[in-house]
Point group: C2
Chain length 378, copies 2
């Protein structure tokens, strides 16, 4: 991919944001809620395009309720920044000044006995402030009460997700050509970060390079370990492009793999394939987990698959819906999530293979399309 | 400052972290609490040195209570990372696996009718999970119940704060030598970020370059505006060095300032001086705000000083105590905070002057020591 054929994104308009806000108000009503309270972070970015310079102790909150127009409460000194966002013209801006009680300023927007969903990552301090100002009000987390808030992507969002996936694939296409043996994990991770940026990511969120025994820790990032010939290496990387996430994993081997590495890799590859093949509208999330897990359990590695099979992705790289036992949310066209089974042999090596999959009317469309065979690197 | 004379930091030991944890347990008891609940972010870094790779929906929580040793609950797949932190050997590690209920795992650590302080930035989702698992339990935010948790710095911390301040000063010493006129605010901001790193910061948190009318928005960062001769420019920058914050502001002028700029700058300079001179143990926070504000009000600009005078600083760049009307916390030796009055003339220009001040037995010691006179740049 060269600079000239780098994709561009169609901007979201104020109308797009207004439409999202009205849909959320309707969905909240259908969920038996009096409204939705949104604090800075992915929910607010998705609903208004507004991201404060820093998320601090000063309360910023968007109130989406049936009885009034969308209202955004901001600290006075952040008001100019809030006004500059694309979606905020579709809200009524209200500000509060240092020294005032922000929860008193918020109270008129809420029913004293109302029930609201609040952003998962809202600060506990702010929730406690609201609970104290309105002791009769009730709250539930967004994940619990409105888990599908951002889950179904529209065409513009899917185009961005597709571009992010293609860029991550392009980065993988280059990383397998660099030297691994004799270099530190952190060196390869730096290469990966540079490639993600080169292919259009504005933000790199993670670049896991788990070599040898480090690969058996699923959340190992990259350390000082020098990569050796014979190492099995988990690569798991992603970030944001046009504001939407990429996240893909491949496992490579430096030189000739052992029979055990080959065997485990093939088990994981088949498990991942089974998970992806199970995707279609109406299937529930836990069935994706079950499909992938069954293959690994049947091969005798069930105890070594120590995490869920996947997570939703969009304006964040981890969000509902989760592909996990117990999650009975049905899949809907437009949902995007990872399918990423793994097997982790403590002290030895790990294998993980991951694609982002978008649910279509017919099944699942992979947004990552590099080879899932065991790749030999130098 | 050259690389060879760059300061180094004395590492914090497991014993240092253990001592902090025991002090917090004692302070919590004195505050009438059954304990303190700490989630990833500055509180957890300060208490254990542990910072998860990413702060996600998976619950990580440190329980500091009188009835048991410090206990750190982590997701199973993040346990190896948690074990690697310097302070975690002073805790009992407990893990929970994907699919399990983390709030059920947390419940045995809490009294069913207990009252706890919880980290300000704990996710609302986690607080709601605890409230639901233990309906008789009660919570208050750390800022409300334990505002002085991290406020008083020990000698090792003060040495780090001093080094961070000196590095920010060194960056200012260089930035006034670069070209301003004809360049974009973002270009100067990039220079500032590079200088902070060059002088030892591991993280740059903000680089405000507010030129001309942009300077009148206190939270403007840096934009595409091309700086012109005659512009008054607010520079406000900082980040972390050895894990501790810097934050300093100076206002410069490109070429000859107008009489109005000179007048407003001198008012702010005198206000900042009055704020710093008011610092001594036993004085309450609001008196620092009053001392600085009085100068500005007397000069007729009271309505244009639209924010509090300062904020605490340590492992974050914004934390209690706040220098604001109504805050009656007395100053204690070892506290560090900003003194940063400003005057903002909408559509025209702004002026802010800021130093970090450490409270000593005798008064206040500035950690920023560059000239506070109006500096003319090119």
């Amino acid at each position: 991919m060269t600079v000239s054929d780098r994709p561009t994104a169609v901007p979201f308009t104020t109308d797009d944001y207004a439409a999202r806000m009205s849909r959320v108000v309707a969905d909240a009503g259908a969920a038996g809620l009096d409204g939705v309270l949104v604090t800075p972070g992915p929910d607010l970015v998705w609903l208004t395009g507004y991201q404060p310079t820093a998320i601090t102790e000063r309360l910023t909150m968007l109130f989406l309720t049936a009885e009034r127009e969308p209202t955004l409460l901001v600290p006075t000194l952040e008001r100019p920044d809030a006004e500059a966002a694309e979606g905020t013209p579709a809200t009524t801006l209200v500000d509060w000044t240092d020294g005032a009680d922000p929860y008193a300023a918020a109270s008129p927007m809420l029913r004293p006995e109302g029930t609201y969903a609040i952003s998962d990552n809202a600060w506990a301090m702010h929730l406690l402030g609201l609970q104290s100002a309105l002791p009769g009000s009730g709250y539930g987390s967004m994940t619990q009460r409105m888990p599908m808030l951002r889950a179904v992507k529209d065409d513009n969002e899917l185009a961005r997700m597709t571009a992010a996936g293609a860029a991550a694939d392009a980065a993988y296409g280059e990383i397998v050509r660099v030297r691994f043996a004799g270099r530190r994990e952190t060196d390869v991770a730096a290469d990966l970060a540079g490639l993600l940026k080169q292919f259009g990511h504005e933000q790199v969120d993670f670049t896991v390079v788990g070599s040898g025994p480090n690969g058996a820790n699923p959340h190992h990032e990259a350390g000082d370990r020098v990569i050796e010939v014979g190492d099995c290496i988990v690569l798991d990387f992603g970030g944001l492009m046009f504001g939407y996430g990429s996240d893909t994993s491949r496992t490579v081997c430096v030189g000739e793999p052992t029979a055990q590495i080959r065997e485990v890799h093939e088990v994981v590859r088949q498990a991942q394939e089974a998970g992806v093949q199970a995707v279609r509208p109406g299937v529930v999330c836990q069935d994706i987990d079950r499909a992938a897990r069954q293959v690994i359990t049947d091969a005798g590695y069930g105890e070594q698959f120590i995490h869920r099979t996947g997570h939703g992705i969009g304006v964040t790289t981890h969000e509902p819906p989760y592909m996990i036992e117990g999650e009975e949310q049905p899949l809907v066209p437009g949902m995007c999530f990872s399918v990423e089974p793994g097997v982790y042999l403590a002290g030895n090596f790990g294998v993980r293979i991951e694609d982002i999959v978008a649910v279509t009317d017919e099944g699942g469309r992979r947004l990552n399309n590099t080879s899932r065979e065991l790749h030999i690197v130098g």
